[in-house]
Amino acid sequence: MPDIAIGMGAQDRAERQKFEAEVMRIVRAADEAGLTLRILGSLAFQTHCPTLGHLQQEMGRAYTDLDFAAYSAQSMGVSQLLGGLGYQEEREVFVVTEGGRAIFENRGNGLHVDVFYNRLDFCHIIPWNGRLEADSPTLPLAELLLEKMQIVKLNEKDVIDTIILLLEHPLGEDDHETINMRRVAGLCAADWGLWRTTSMNLPKVRQLAGSYLQLSDEQKTRLASQVEDILARIEAEPKTLAWRLRARVGDRVKWYKDVEEVQ
């Protein structure tokens, strides 16, 4: 099993409801303020998987914070909005990340909010320029999948979120309740490193799913089929020249960034 880390452990229903209610309060307030704010992280998987979201709690997946995606052009509006909702910004994070990320704390309810502007920039870059409008109130399903698949050292919490997503949603070529494979394959075809990590993680998810007693045999079979289909689709996507050149070098040169955790 992967390393057990933050995001795993028992969490009672009341505590989970606190997170779920707060994330929707913030999204609604953003909508009313005309701001494009989308949920990512564990709460996004819970929100976008109403049928199987219960598996998160049953598998020991806990909420730790509220994560959002936004556009940097609206960063001032986001800061004002969260300030009005009782959150205090740790301004130095926004400065250190050159406007790529902002962190807020609410001393009243003890919750922590992370806002990522324009892109997720951890082991690999997942951009969302113009993509936030494709779904609501979460990031589109394709980006949710890649949010997890770009992690080189996949944790159990990431495996659980991915399993739920792949069991709840079919693969497709658009964003309407489907995982947009055109988007997933397109990003993987432009960036060999992202392709490499995604191709490494998907079989890992399939393998680890086999050990969860909470999943039926039928669910495990369906998950394996989804993984196979994604791998086939990203393999079939025509690759860029830079991708092909990078592929020849392969693992000889490190293909991902080490992540420095900002807590």
Binding site: L245, R246, R248, V249, V253, K254
Partner: protein, 269 residues
């Protein structure tokens, strides 16, 4: 175009073995004044092709000491494009031009009765064009690339290599702060960096070569003549009214081949 591939090709092969390091490949390319080598196995059979563009990966990915070390250990066999795309020596040259244009190849291995006998490259087409009688065809302005990739003199070399690779450009025009053309950085200039560890710390102005310019109303024949005479693959097209301003575009040997392979071109008549 009536000529056959065998009449245009560069006969013979300039080769390296699969275990040749990238640094050694750079040395051979420089010494032989070629842009690519045919990679052969122990029995001297062609198994791949390695171009100066492929070597750009060395500079592109050598972002720290560990990746530089890994790249220096890479061999021609690991970095080459394989298998090699071939064309029969008896095919018409226009068929080769059409394939190169369609598939984005810069060169093809020429075979005769299954045996490799030479290489036909963009430069061979340019040479053929230069040898033609005065042409009635279009001017430089009609076929030049009007979108150019440009950088400032102080731009670091790794940033240039990365952008060229990502944007699929083979050269970058170096401009000063006022937009005047100061030089050109091509894959050829970056090749030197494969042998020079200090190159990653250098800037465009330190590795660029002097630009060779041409007017937009010059003929393609004049452009080809100038390329052949100076052994340049591209010319910077300047505005004759305002020669100090940002260039109008770039015309490369590939643009000329592209024109030759265009439907309706006299080369295909």
């Amino acid at each position: 175009m009536k000529e056959l591939v065998r009449e245009l090709m560069h006969p013979g092969l300039i080769t390296c073995r699969t275990d040749t390091t990238l640094g050694q490949v750079a040395l051979i390319l420089t010494q032989q004044h070629v842009h690519a080598l045919i990679v052969t196995d122990r029995d001297s059979r062609p198994v791949g092709i390695l171009s100066d563009f492929d070597l750009l990966a060395g500079e592109w990915l050598s972002t720290d000491a560990s990746s530089l070390d890994a790249m220096r250990k890479m061999t021609a066999g690991e970095m080459m494009t394989s298998p090699v795309d071939t064309i029969d020596a008896g095919e018409e040259a226009c068929a080769a031009a059409e394939r190169m244009r369609r598939d984005g190849f810069h060169r093809l291995l020429v075979t005769e009765r299954g045996k490799a006998v030479g290489v036909v490259s963009i430069s061979d087409f340019v040479a053929s064009l230069a040898a033609q009688a005065p042409s009635q065809r279009e001017k430089v302005a009609d076929v030049m690339s009007r979108a150019i990739l440009a950088c400032r003199e102080e731009t670091p070399v790794p940033a240039i290599a990365r952008t060229m690779t990502e944007a699929h450009f083979r050269s970058v025009i170096v401009l000063d702060a006022a937009g005047r053309t100061k030089g050109v950085v091509s894959g050829w200039d970056l090749l030197a960096c494969c042998e020079d560890e200090s190159c990653a710390g250098k800037t465009a102005s330190q590795i660029m070569h002097a630009p060779l310019t041409i007017r937009p109303d010059a003929t393609l024949r004049e452009a080809a003549d100038r390329m052949i005479e100076h052994h340049y693959h591209r010319l910077v097209v300047i505005d004759p009214e305002r020669p100090e301003s940002v260039p109008l575009g770039v015309i490369s040997s590939y643009d000329i081949v592209n024109e030759m392979a265009r439907p309706g071109s006299p080369w295909l008549a």
